[in-house]
């Protein structure tokens, strides 16, 4: 194993163990709530970046994938009463399929047209759920928090640890993609699709891998959501803010590097939590907007891009 790989896996293990340790020493449930929200945003950002950052297709319909994941787990829970891991798996499959479908859109739609199509997809899904009474329709649906929570002190602690594991898994996949042969193929598509095709890159197949992976990850982020909030309605699940956040976080962190969306999500997510609690929940929406504008104008390569420039200058 290369040294950087060893460091990476070491850090991942350390973070997971630290999360486990927190459940032993920290009693205040609010902190687990807050960290859950940040981790959920991290998965969404990492997922968005696989298509948006690595492959160059902007997805505006992230909320659609997220909500599809949430509703898939509601249906599976209601119909079959499956335990959480199976709900997550089911949501990943469902949203992966949805991603595959969206991938075929790239055959005809590029750039802004693709972005509009993904937004439309989210709206179609929302209309569908609004009129589906089995999952509560527009009224929404209440869920009971399951009583079992393994050896953890409360259900939210268990959800937090599950989400931590999932987020770390997504980060590991994204990092592997970024540096692999597959990742170079995706980058070639982002830079110039025609030239990529002529260099032997099977562009359609790679785009399908990218959209499917993105969809599945977003489904994973959405699947535990119903048990986190215990009340889900289309308005909150399909919230445009979910989509905006999953674009803004990678942009702020830097889209070209796997670390970008992670940094962006941790930074923006934490700031949002602090502002929501201490100032107002309206102001945190403004924060994302302002940060996005500032970064796009002053540092279009994001925080990772700034850091890379700084290192280059110091070395050269």
């Amino acid at each position: 194993m290369r040294r950087v790989d060893a460091v990476f896996w070491g850090v991942l293990a350390a973070v997971f163990l630290a999360g486990l340790a927190l459940t032993e020493v920290m009693a205040n449930e609010y902190y687990f709530n807050a960290m859950y929200v940040i981790l959920q945003a991290t998965i969404m950002a990492v997922a968005w970046n696989i298509l948006g950052g690595f492959t160059g297709y902007v997805n505006f319909g992230s909320a659609g994938f997220f909500a599809l994941g949430a509703y898939t787990s509601i249906v599976l829970d209601k119909a079959l009463g499956l335990p959480l891991p199976f709900l997550i798996l089911g949501a990943a499959l469902m949203c992966g399929l949805m991603g595959l479908g969206v991938g075929y859109l790239t055959l005809r739609l590029k750039g802004v047209y693709f972005a509009i199509a993904t937004l439309a997809m989210a709206i179609v899904l929302e209309t569908f759920v609004n009129n589906w009474s089995y999952v509560g329709g527009a009224r929404g649906v209440y869920l009971l928090t399951p009583e079992k929570h393994l050896w953890f002190k409360s259900y939210i602690q268990m959800l937090f640890v599950a989400m931590l594991g999932l987020a770390l898994g997504c980060i590991a996949i994204s990092r592997y993609l970024n540096a692999s042969r597959l990742g170079r193929g995706l980058a070639a598509i982002r830079d110039d699709e025609v030239a990529a095709e002529c260099a032997g890159v099977p562009t359609l197949r790679l785009k399908l891998v990218s959209t499917t992976l993105m969809g599945a990850m977003m489904g994973v982020a959405g699947a535990p959501y119903p048990f986190f909030v215990t009340f889900v309605d289309p308005l909150s699940a399909f919230n445009l803010f979910v989509a905006v956040n999953s674009i803004a976080m990678p942009m702020i962190g830097g889209t070209a590097h796997w670390l970008g969306p992670v940094i962006g999500a941790l930074l923006v997510g934490t700031a949002q939590e602090i502002i929501t609690v201490n100032v107002s929940s309206e102001l945190n929406v403004l924060l994302v907007g302002v940060m996005l504008v500032v970064f796009i104008t002053l540092a279009p390569q994001g925080i990772v891009g700034l850091a890379q420039k700084y290192w280059k200058r110091r070395r050269g």
Binding site: A187, A188, V194, A195, A196, E197, C198, G200
Partner: protein, 241 residues
């Protein structure tokens, strides 16, 4: 005479009502140097788009090394050994020069490449082209002539049997043209057949063993460079009546 590696027969391409190419027959033998000339808008780039797979032709067949590739996707043609450079350079801008070459090595030539030596192979191509000093620079910041070289290097990294060079020299100075010509000759000496599309007559006539002339989507002449230079139809196509 050796077997043709590329045989185009009865090829036609229309864009809506506009006939871009009609009844094109073309053969290229292994290791041959073929010049493709014609006035602007005569269909040269459309023809090589149909050969490389960037566009599908409406009628006719394209056969490469005995295989019908008429309906084959561009990336699969690249794997078989058809490579092209673009008239307007299309580097992978987020990558360094070296990484640009990794893409065709890892995709088009993957089955023929030594997987553990990709970087070495990329460096060899860069040395042949004369870009080794730029290997670790970003490709977006290259000069025009280096950008053209990168186009050829990337095409070469796909380990082609046939290279289509689409106006690799347009806008370059006389000495730069000679440099690119030298590269193309070196490639050809390694057994790669070259189709050269060029407006610079000195280059294309000096380079080609055989020249094909297109005008308004049709092939109007074919022959040795001397024959083409003295062909009245070609003169008419370029200069008018």
């Amino acid at each position: 005479m050796s077997e043709p590696i590329l045989r185009v027969s009865g090829l036609a391409k229309r864009f809506g009502g506009f006939v871009a190419l009609e009844g094109i027959d073309l053969e290229v033998r292994a290791g041959e140097r073929l010049g493709l000339i014609g006035p602007n808008g005569s269909g040269k780039t459309t023809l090589i788009n149909c050969i490389s797979g960037a566009l599908y032709n409406d009628a006719g067949r394209v056969v490469f090394e005995g295989r019908d590739i008429t309906r084959m996707a561009a990336h699969r043609r690249a794997r078989l050994g058809v490579a092209r450079s673009f008239q307007i350079p299309k580097p992978f801008r987020s990558m360094t020069v070296l990484e640009n070459l990794r893409v065709p090595l890892e995709y088009a030539a993957w089955e023929r490449a030594e997987h553990s030596r990709i970087t070495d192979e990329a460096m060899q191509v860069l040395e042949l082209i004369g870009l080794q000093q730029r290997a670790h620079e970003g490709s977006a910041g290259l000069t025009q002539v280096d950008m053209r070289k990168l186009e050829l290097a990337r095409a070469l990294a796909a380990k082609p049997r046939l290279l289509v060079s689409d106006e690799a020299m347009a806008g370059l100075s006389s000495s730069e043209v000679d440099e690119i010509l030298g590269i193309l000759r070196a490639l050809n000496a390694r057994g790669v057949a070259v189709i050269m599309i060029e407006h610079i007559m000195r280059a294309v006539m000096g380079f080609s063993e055989r020249v094909v002339v297109l005008d308004a989507g049709r092939k109007i002449a074919e022959g040795s460079p001397e024959q083409i230079l003295h062909n009245p139809d070609v003169e008419r196509a370029y200069l008018g009546e």
